[in-house]
């Protein structure tokens, strides 16, 4: 072991750098970097363009001489710009995450956590509800005919219209705080799970269902030994969509409540006071949160699929 370690160590190190180079050579990192760079560049262009009229008005009222360089510099340093520059948004995010206590009301992390908790609760309820409805739809003809149209109809109603009603009604029966917001997430997130799982539970091939029949397998046995494992890939795909829209639901749920905390409240407060930088910072935080949640579901998917013997 001691003899082999020094030989093995450089080998594994070069393997690690090898994969980095291979990924670059595979052409994944480079195109992404180019696209990001292009977006940032266009963004800076629009920052100057959109903030210029106000800045020029300022120069004229103050009767100052100004050059193009002044204009570019000043449009990127406004306190309430029409469009903040990317670095302004990043600076705001840094200030509100790193430089304040996480428990403080000014901390973006604090707001993100409040939104995240109702997202996760709503997502959990929504996924469970979606799976249960799909089980019913697949196993019961009456449910198959009657439930699906309602499930689809539920999603044609704009969530912005429904959200205040849910909050008000639940408040009237004494429910407030986390649950009403979570239920709005549920309302959005159960849908992709129902649709995906109905398809998933029906995905076993005729040959596999026939096989279970030759064993005189009960419906419960067929469900747990065949339908459920067949549906798992569908479950994870649905959950990726569901977790992202759960976050949307939680943010939307914070808007009509006049909530004092959460990313939704932060967006609302920002728009009241024209704090565009604060709005953008909250948006970036929401996007980062959504990306992490989807990535986590993806990780769960890879782990479960590996355990189920999927081809690597």
């Amino acid at each position: 072991m001691t003899a082999s370690t020094p030989i093995a160590a450089p080998g594994s190190a070069s393997a690690a750098t090898g994969t980095v180079f291979r990924r670059l050579a595979d052409g994944k990192a480079l195109p992404i970097a180019i696209v990001v760079a292009a977006i940032v560049l266009i963004w800076y262009g629009f920052t100057v363009y959109l903030n210029a009229p106000w800045q020029i008005g300022l120069y004229q009222r103050a009767d100052t001489e100004w050059t193009a360089a002044d204009l570019v510099r000043d449009t990127m340093a406004q306190e309430r710009p029409v469009l903040p520059a990317p670095h302004q948004v990043l600076a705001e995010m840094w200030k509100t995450t790193v430089e304040v206590r996480p428990t403080s009301n000014r901390s973006l992390l604090n707001h993100a956590w409040i939104t995240l908790s109702s997202t996760l609760l709503g997502f959990a309820i929504g996924t469970t509800l979606g799976v249960l409805l799909a089980v019913g739809i697949v196993h019961n003809r009456a449910m198959d005919k009657s439930v699906m149209p309602w499930v689809i109809a539920s999603q044609t109603i704009p969530i912005l219209a429904v959200a205040p009603m849910i909050i008000v009604v639940l408040n009237a029966i004494g429910l407030s705080g986390l649950l009403p917001k979570a239920l709005i997430s549920t309302y959005l997130s159960f849908f992709p799970v129902v649709v995906g799982m109905v398809k998933g539970f029906r995905s076993p091939e005729a040959i596999q269902l026939d096989l279970m029949r030759t064993y005189n397998s009960s419906r419960t046995q067929t469900f747990f030994k065949l339908r459920w494992p067949s549906a798992l890939p569908f479950l994870f795909t649905s959950m990726k969509v569901a977790v992202a829209i759960s976050l949307v639901g939680a943010i939307v749920g914070e808007l009509p409540t006049g909530a004092v905390a959460g990313l939704g409240a932060r967006l609302l407060a920002g728009s009241y006071y024209g704090q565009t930088i604060q709005i953008w910072a909250a948006l970036f935080m929401a996007a980062a949160l959504a990306a992490s949640l989807v990535a986590l579901v993806g990780l769960g998917q890879r782990l479960v699929m590996a355990r189920m013997g999927a081809r690597p």
Binding site: E205, I207, Q208, D210, L211, M212, R213, T214, Y215, N216, S217, Q221, K225, L226, P229, M308, G309, A310, R311
Partner: protein
Amino acid sequence: MNAPASKLQPAAATTSPVVEAKALSLTFETADGPVRALSDVDLSVGRGEFVSFIGPSGCGKTTFLRVIADLEQPTAGDIRVNGLTAEAARRARAYGYVFQAAGLFPWRTIEKNVALPLEIMGYSARERRERVARTLDLVNLTGFERKYPWQLSGGMQQRASIARALAFDADLLLMDEPFGALDEIVRDHLNEQLLELWARTNKTICFVTHSIPEAVYLSTRIVVMSPRPGRVTDVIESTLPKERPLDIRETPEFLEIAHRVREGLRAGMSDE
């Protein structure tokens, strides 16, 4: 895998038939009108027989097998399996069914796939282990217990599916073109192994195929069927000995039977 042929019971030593069909008919209602998949089929399969069903597609050979298995219900006539109705026989787990595709569950290892019927039928964990080991040995797959289906070749997958059908020791084995999707070399090998397995286990086998050499090589009896409507046109008793090396296919006797099968198939086609 070399049980002496003398251990075999002759097909004639049957008591009650394992499968008995009387005036069996099945008509599918399709959008283009009724399709007569089976018309007035009378057939009886004795214990320990190896019966092949051969015919062009649409002749009802697979349908007949599915009726025995209670996967299709006849529209007229009577079917008995081990003296029971097809449904009662299925509920009593009277047969193992091997499909055209292996149909292994991709999330289960080979041993778990073979254990699937045993789990459903409520065998104890210890008995499951014993039976899985025994049947995997029977199909020469020992050593592949922990592999997933995708790690095996098509022929090995089909052998695993045969092991799965054998695991719960049903006396009747229904095989629906089990080697149809495999290449000829693998198919020859599996045919040889299937005969050895049949000799060792002394099961009754109903085997659907569209290959004349396969039917002649394997069977004690060959049922020739023809389409529109699906019906039995000829039943040929094999005169080949029980012990059948692969090169028996070069003998005049073999070619004579193959010729009769081909004639029967041609006669069925010319009726149209």
